[in-house]
Symmetry: C2
């Protein structure tokens, strides 16, 4: 009899986004004519850069000609041209990443979830609350115990094996300083734990004391892998490409304490459960890191940063406590008038027709908080903030 | 201390393809001027169809314009347009598949490997030997016990929970008749087991008594999922797209015998460990099933079939026992002169500079057999068969 993986029974229903959709739908059914402004989901809205589109074209054209057609990618780790481009990108902000430590994948979420396959189900996982739900769910699915702390690790368990960090953080928008991150690295090293560092929002960092990569921190190469994505850097949420950096000297341990390089286990996992990223997509991603591509994607990021600035200005004027916005497309704020997250969600939806994300959906520490994204248009962002000001003044 | 998943220690080294590369490299170093003909790896060589390339272009263009830009795909299950195209394709050979039972993924290998995540590690897996190594390795990684039988299931264990079938088969090229497949379905039903049916080579079937889908068999909807791919149908080995059909009424069981729909577990798995297929790739895949796309990809398949016919003719003339070729791009034959698989591999490499795949690499039952693929050019296929004839005459 085919049995299911019973760990799935321990997953919480993905309550958050189902509940949000349900409430929006209900509201829109009763109020079909309102102009809703969606600042909930963390999806981009601006088109791909022209250099990226052109590279995609060109690659599809190559696939239509026998002499330039490409079949299976031999290694499954990503084409050398893209791995080199990623290494070059890291170099541009002062981090040395060897080309053969770069693994191309189809997005940060996939790698964040799938990396768990190579760890023992007995390992203890630590995540910071509020948290991107994938870190919890993917580990629960494989039967791992998940513990919680806050963003800076104010209280830490004595024993831990796997640590998920995200900076700039989803959902809070906060970014670690070098010192905060060094504390995490030291903690991981003393536990022989592995940090799975999600840097999906690194392109939004503006403050020079906030590292864009965990590998700027001393010791990180012995305890961390870094997962990043073209989704927020270059609008690839629908185009799908990401990359993971695995230092060659990073080890996992057998139960009798024998070392084994983590990258070998990952390659073995991918060899049986993944088959590489589409060639045209890899060429499009390569174009992100050309001088033209960098200039064009930076314009888009500046556009979103402008939206974040508009939100920060409004929240400051309204004297609402918030984090994020400076190094992140997310603004995370305390719900006004001591409302709880869902109360405030309904209030915004009904009174000003603006949709955000209730912080309570990201964990216990998110209760009473709220997330808005900078990924809408400038016009809508201005309009939403005007409505919010009117509502709360 | 971060421990590795100890099940990985039970994996066999991926001996086969490493060893093949090593032997070729050694030989080429000593004989740099020979013209090697590679008929080993199951990768295609003909370019994408013009209709497919054009659809890829057009989709990249859409991604560069704000009004038509696409971000995250809401469901992660694939766009409706592609799921409808797949359902329409099944309809074209007489199989009814509801659109909402189609899940778009990045290839058959990924889905074949990842589907194991939703089953209990205590489940017993049955595979047919010789076997595509992924079925074994992905299950060993998650700690499942793997048993072996032959293609038609001559001897079957009393208790089984998961059954991997592949028809037309990799590596043997044999395809099940309706009756043979019905026997498997009945066996699965009587065990409440799930068949994971790999139909990646279905487009090569020519004989009308060989089902192109397990869902042509009565009862299959209660015990089977089907995994297929655009890789061999339309040359997508480097473009990456596939699909999995999961009947809504197919159930898995908890340890206390409660039913739970398999599709819900798969959606939950994908929700945390996958994020959908690139939009331009899904549009390119949709074009495969347009009248133009069908005509163009059929031309390519005919071309490969022609190569298979050339190989079959030669093997017949040489009075070598073989299977495949009729409904498959693979020809699988008994090594002449009682040579073992590796002996014959070396013999072909050294004497006539043709590379194939030693059957022994696919399992015990493959010992003494050899696989050649029809995916090379017609010219090379003719040349290789002339060399083989000369060698063995």
């Amino acid at each position: 009899m085919a049995n299911l993986n019973q760990n799935f029974l321990n997953l919480k229903e993905s309550y958050l986004f189902i509940e949000i959709s349900k409430r929006i739908k209900e509201f829109m059914n009763n109020n079909p004519d309102v102009s809703l402004i969606r600042m909930g989901i963390g999806d981009v809205t601006q088109p791909l850069a022209p250099a990226v589109v052109e590279a995609g074209y060109k690659a599809f054209a190559e696939m239509g000609v026998k002499a330039t057609f490409r079949g299976y990618e031999d290694s499954g780790r990503g084409y050398e041209f893209l791995r080199e481009a990623v290494a070059g990108y890291y170099k541009s902000f002062g981090v040395q990443v060897p080309v053969d430590e770069v693994y191309i994948g189809d997005g940060a979420k996939s790698d964040c979830g799938n990396i768990g396959d190579i760890f023992s189900a007995d390992n203890i996982v630590l995540v910071t609350d509020p948290v991107y739900p994938v870190y919890v769910d993917a580990n629960v699915m494989s039967g791992k115990k998940v513990l919680f702390t806050d963003f800076v690790g104010s209280s830490l368990p004595e024993k831990v094996d796997i640590i998920h960090l995200c900076s700039p953080n989803n959902p809070t928008g906060a970014a670690y300083t070098y010192e905060q991150l060094k504390k995490w690295v030291d903690y991981a090293l003393s536990n022989k734990a592995v940090i799975i560092y999600d840097a999906a929002y690194e392109a939004f960092i503006t403050e020079p004391d906030k590292p864009r990569s965990i590998f700027s921190v001393e010791g990180a190469r012995s305890c961390a892998i870094e997962i990043c994505s073209f989704s927020k850097t270059a609008g690839f949420t629908g185009t799908r490409c990401g990359y993971t950096i695995i230092p060659k000297d990073l080890m996992l341990y057998t139960t009798d304490n024998t070392e084994m390089p983590l990258y070998k286990l990952w390659e073995r996992r991918q060899g049986s459960k993944f088959n590489g990223v589409s060639y045209p997509v890899q060429r499009a991603a390569e174009a992100v890191f050309t001088p033209q591509g960098i200039q064009q994607t930076q314009e888009t990021i500046s556009y979103y940063r402008g939206n974040a600035a508009i939100m920060m200005k409004t929240l400051s004027e309204l004297k609402i406590t918030f984090t994020g916005g400076i190094n992140s497309p997310y603004v995370w704020f305390k719900c006004p008038n001591n409302m709880d997250s869902w109360e405030f969600f309904d209030y915004m939806l009904k009174e000003i027709n603006v949709v955000g994300t209730p912080g309570a959906g990201f964990g216990e520490n998110g209760a009473g908080w709220f997330r808005l994204t900078a990924f809408n248009t400038k016009e809508n962002t201005i309009e939403a903030m005007e409505r919010l000001t009117k509502l709360l003044s």
